[in-house]
Amino acid sequence: MIDPWYIAVCILVILVCLSLIRLFLGPTAADRAVAIDTVNTLSVAVLILLGVAYQQIIFIDVAIVYALLSFVSTLYIAKYLGGEL
């Protein structure tokens, strides 16, 4: 039997690829920022699941730091969009 964690990770990676379509198509910059935000969220979910699949707790610490750092980058992109930077 295949481990369910790997199947979940595969589906989530396919979803990340689908949201990259919006990143390429997006008519405005804000659409691309939304797509990047989605990719960040899904990356955190994938990192948590991979931490269980490989039995490495350090992956989950990486996920925490990734969530906080991507938050800072999202805030700066939003400030730049609003012309406040």
């Binding site: 369910p4 979940a8 589906i11 989530l12 979803l15 689908l18 949201s19 379509i21 919006r22 405005t28 910059a29 804000a30 659409d31 920022a33 939304v34 797509a35 935000d37 989605t38 969220t41 899904l42 955190v44 979910a45 948590i48 699941l49 931490g51 269980v52 707790i57 989950i60 610490d61 996920a63 925490i64 969530a67 906080l68 991507s70 938050f71 999202t74 805030l75 992109i77 939003a78 400030k79 730049y80 969009l81 609003g82 012309g83 406040e84």
Partner: protein, 118 residues
């Protein structure tokens, strides 16, 4: 045995909501409605995948008594909480920036923000 079923159910629900969020991102007409789909549904789906990991850690801790599974659960909980907060605040920031950049909500019944702040 119950834990296995719960883990599989949580994973399935989480992936279902994540997939619907991506479908909304690809399908909705303008940036604000897309943000509705991604912010709410990917946060909710990622909460459920994290919940399955927490259930896995607690079940293995109860059966084996190994301390590292407590660490796994607690770290996953902290990651999920930080994910929820950062997603909400980040999407608010993007919406504000998009409105300041002059992107109008394309199909809109009413736009009070446009009337009150010139």
């Amino acid at each position: 045995m119950i834990a296995d079923v719960l883990i599989l159910a949580c994973l399935a629900v989480g992936i279902f909501f994540n997939a619907l969020g991506i479908a909304g991102l690809l399908r909705f007409p303008d940036v604000y409605t897309r943000m509705h789909a991604t912010t709410k549904m990917t946060t909710f789906g990622s909460m459920f995948t994290a919940l399955s990991v927490i259930i896995y850690g607690v079940a293995l801790f109860l059966s084996s008594g190994d301390g590292q599974y407590v660490t796994l659960s607690v770290h996953t909980l902290i990651a999920a909480i930080s994910l929820a907060f950062t997603n909400a605040v980040g999407s608010h920031a993007i919406a504000r920036g998009a409105h300041k950049a002059g992107i109008k909500p394309a199909p809109a019944i009413v736009d009070r923000l446009e009337e009150f702040t010139p």
